[in-house]
Symmetry: C2
Subunit: 332 residues, 2 copies
């Protein structure tokens, strides 16, 4: 069946059927608006991201299932960075006329997998045709007790700077995708490409750090570590020093760049789309943080410290100062 | 200055500067997510709409200011249809590289005018480039006491069917725009074109009807009266009979179609994008409803009644049954 035969309301029915619906007395899909009831004492936390074909993704790279997973993952990552628990999401799709219904179903597969994995309910959305590319807009709504939420503005001089997981995989994966136009190569290539196409939002770690009161400021790394740590420093009125040699890298990343001279610090420190967490915390909380990271199943690494200098300084292994060719990805 | 020189963060700063920010302890633009605190006892009501160039609008028709106003208006209209009070909105923009910064500012003019008129605060969003057309995605958040909210499912046989304002202006305006490619013609043409490009969401009337407990079911007319009344009937498990002769039409509409034979009932009953309210209420509430409509400054008209037939029947002035050429606008 083609989309034109199914029609707008047919598509909405298919989407609704793919996701478990919010329970009464809340309204799910099918009224003018959705009704959301946060749990008592909870503050609502809302984030939104728009992904456009030709800008954030190329359809030939494929895998609309992964694109579905990623379009929810980037929003989940924003809630993780606040320490909030995700609950509902809204999905708007602008769909090119030529896109077969099968492929839309595959996109919905990815979205519903990710939604189920994080226990978020589809609460509403909008669908329309697109004369140009596919556009996916997701708004996510989570909740948390207000006193536990982690803002960007809480860092203090003397705090240690931490990152979760490993950095640079996604940027290297994208570089390889752009070069090869398809996912070929060994297991290491597959790993870094997958880190780009199917990032894992660190919801469990973000919530655990917030709920245990361990971190003081937190952000997710979407524009590259230096740019995003820069946001923390700007909003906290402080600076930071980072040792690039301490930045955690995957064995797969190391294997793929082994012959690169100079070493691609740019990818690790400013590549972007890592969707790892960067947070700051007093040094005496180190053991407690490592324990939470272990429980959450993701490594956490101290990479530097917060200073009162007002700027982010990154040291190369030889002690000289690293200047990224750009501080991070920016549109336009 | 061009957008490329200003950059993503420069643009976000400009957007933030155009809108009054939510007060502490809420977070506005500039963290990973926005924090929203509904007033005590209030339920949150959320709706989202995506407008894409070439589908919902053509840039040559112009007036990015009106496009800004409309992209918020269609979301406000969804909240009006629930009887909710709008409070916050989220704005995502995918911007073509060639769009001058001046024009973006004009779009923001329209958005901030409409936001100020309805007292809604910009709470967050996302911006990116677009390789194809301009895309505007708005998510709006309102609130209302849960027992007052008006669902589509509340209609009962015997209720009267009401509509606010006049119908068909917007569809006729679009028809004239598509024919002439610009707004020329007399005051009547200008009026109906403006009803298409700059619809007025009926927030005041929607809230008043909900808060006085006068309506039983409500929807906003975006797909055409027959289609949207069909949604009420489907979700209420009932039907409706409509007298087309009773459908309210503006003097400007009448003047423009005076020579049309047959009379364009299609535009009035199934044209779409009216952004008026359609609601049902017991007959003994007629006087109270008319009083609320007068206070809200918008006419309200009884156009038919709710039946137990399970379908919507529309009678032409000669008593025969009207069959729309399509029940309303659908994408794809």
């Amino acid at each position: 069946m083609r989309l034109a035969q199914l029609g707008e309301f047919g598509l909405i029915d298919r989407i609704a059927a793919r996701f478990p619906q919010p329970l009464a007395p809340e309204l799910g899909i099918g009224d003018d608006a959705a009704l959301l009831s946060p749990a008592p004492g909870m503050q609502l936390v809302v984030s939104t991201d728009l992904l456009a074909e030709g800008v954030h993704f190329e359809r030939p790279f494929g895998q609309l299932r992964l694109l579905g997973r990623k379009s929810l993952a980037v929003n989940l990552s924003d809630l993780a960075a606040m320490g909030a628990r995700p609950r509902w999401f809204f999905l708007s799709l602008a769909i090119p006329a030529g896109l077969p219904l099968d492929e839309i179903e595959v996109l919905l597969d990815g979205l519903s997998e990710q939604a189920a994995a994080h226990g978020v309910l589809l609460a509403g959305g909008d669908t329309c045709g697109s004369r140009s590319g596919l556009v996916i807009s997701v708004t996510i709504v989570g909740e948390q007790r207000p006193e536990l939420l982690l803002r960007r503005s809480g860092a203090r001089p003397g705090d240690e700077v931490w990152v979760s997981g490993t950095l640079g995989d996604s940027a290297l994966g994208l570089q390889l995708l752009l070069k090869n136009k398809s996912v070929t190569g060994g297991a290491a290539t597959e790993y870094v490409v997958n880190r780009h196409l199917d990032p894992t939002p660190r919801c469990g770690l973000g919530q655990a750090l917030a709920e245990a009161g361990l971190a003081r400021a937190m952000i997710d790394i979407s524009d590259g570590l230096l740019a995003d740590l820069g946001h923390i420093c700007q909003q906290s009125g402080c600076g930071a020093e980072i040792a690039l040699a301490h930045l955690p890298r995957s064995p797969q990343f190391e294997r793929l760049v082994t012959s690169a001279t100079p070493f691609p610090w740019q990818l690790v420190a400013a590549g972007g789309e890592d969707y790892e967490l960067c947070f700051t915390a007093p040094a005496d909380r180190r053991a407690a943080i490592l324990e939470r990271a272990k429980t959450a199943g993701v490594p956490a690494t101290v990479v530097g410290k917060v200073t009162d200098s007002g700027r982010v300084v990154a040291h190369l292994p030889d002690g000289s100062i690293f200047q990224p060719s750009s501080a991070g990805y920016t549109h336009f």
